[in-house]
Symmetry: C2
Subunit: 303 residues, 2 copies
Amino acid sequence: MAKGNNVYKDAYNRCLGLLEAAGSLPSEPELGATLGVSRTTVRSVLARMAETGLIAWNKRDKKALRKPCPDDFFPVAETDSPSEIIERSFVRRLLGAGAEAGTQINELELARELGVGTTSVREFLIRFSRFGLIEKRRNSHWVLKGFTRDFALELTEIREMFELRSAAAFAALPQDDPAWAELDRLESEHHALARAIATRFNEFSELDERFHRLIHRASLNRFIVDFYDVIAMIFHYHYQWNKADERQRNETALQEHLAYIAALRSRDPAKVDAACRRHLNSARQTLLISMPETAGDAEIPAE
Amino acid sequence: MAKGNNVYKDAYNRCLGLLEAAGSLPSEPELGATLGVSRTTVRSVLARMAETGLIAWNKRDKKALRKPCPDDFFPVAETDSPSEIIERSFVRRLLGAGAEAGTQINELELARELGVGTTSVREFLIRFSRFGLIEKRRNSHWVLKGFTRDFALELTEIREMFELRSAAAFAALPQDDPAWAELDRLESEHHALARAIATRFNEFSELDERFHRLIHRASLNRFIVDFYDVIAMIFHYHYQWNKADERQRNETALQEHLAYIAALRSRDPAKVDAACRRHLNSARQTLLISMPETAGDAEIPAE
DNA sequence: TTATTGTCTTTTATCTGGAAAAAACAATTT
DNA sequence: AAATTGTTTTTTCCAGATAAAAGACAATAA
């Protein structure tokens, strides 16, 4: 037993999408670039597509012979890498119930439950430790620190410090910096979403992340930029199953973003600071309200 | 092949020290606590000590029979875990020369050169990635970002932000907080070292770390506390072979610490801020001056 | 009783092996 | 020539195995 072939399966599934849209496929290197995989994987994908009669593959020609049907796709469960499987399942437990602070984490047990090797679990835990939710006892087990109110407060404290600084840096960016064009684009997306907020409110979180990452990037500081991963992880998973008031919450945040964007454009430090503070305050409130009062009494969502 | 026995060897060596100092050894659990290992390891240590005629071990009695001689110690090279071996050697290269930004890191090659398994190398790289000096390409190699001037500036920017906030929090600590007593203790150590600075200047860096960690802890924020690990790593390794002006540098810093401590005691936010700024400024200057102008032209110290 | 020792079980740390994926190289095709 | 395809080599990813170390339980001594 060795490496799984999830990269291939995932690339294959995505390639089916491309095929359906275009009717034929580009060169191997180009395909590799768009799918984010090597040519070796691209060729495996093409080989199978030819085999199953999806395309006629002759050197440069890759014409679609028929539309992909649902059966052509690999089951999504098989397109995840062990590390993705572990992350989803681990974070779900962690942010959900039954995650009393102080609980110890057993690598072997986790590996068995999830059907992955211990190496993957270990590597995941090491990677995950930077989020400040678990801690290692030297030569011994990991300990859960818990997704507590304290954690949320510590997280938001840093976030506010970093974002205020980034926003100030953003406002000071020269007029020809590409970030301004990117901000324009994001603003239009905000307006578009605002017009259809009643039905598309669930698209906000992705926009939110792109917006804040853009701001953070203006800091030109890798530690600030990287820290946004922690925030994004928490928001991504926590709100995924905490849908209370989602629509209202997103609508408010969207309007705050628009005000924030206007402030950035004004390039007036005081206005930027005020708009940024207002938004971060409400983001903090939203997070705190949606959290269990004491660790461990949140609802666990069905898998 | 499996796990090495470096924990045992290291514990054994340290236990020889205890034996020499005390003439006899305490109970197994107590010994385990002082050495930071389990009873299982303690018993292996005792067993060997009995075998080699160092102690007479009969249940509760563990009397020294003779003084440990140099031959009794395991070679220090054998007391390091693979992960420690990798860290030292990797960081040495990284902060030294031949570490052009953009260079790619080969797990297999590194493992072979250092005589360790690839798993250890992988785990090390994952752990090390939080320092912001390397970056992973998905499904591919790691890339060196380099110990550059930019890195130093980004690092110090965060450090200053965090420490100013921590220092303010420290000054606001209630009078009965144990941190004040700890500060008193550190102050005396500073005074003691100041009196003997001519000969003991090299003891400063350890004191420096303890002092700054104490300050940072007052933030009560795990992200701030954890970030000090990045700073400590850089200072630890970088200054280990950059000894230019070490004495003068340490003497200046020591005096700045004393002023900083006095400011904290005054509990006057403006004074704290000023003293903290002064020290951080000179720390930044020191780091920048001691760095190669362009990445890769530093001297590599002999191993 | 309570701490300590003796023994047994579980878990971690690390190496190895091998398939998947990437990367490098060579041969074609436009 | 420049890009694309065909082929070979290298490297990563991950499961499995195992000795070391930790932890748990039982027996014994103070």
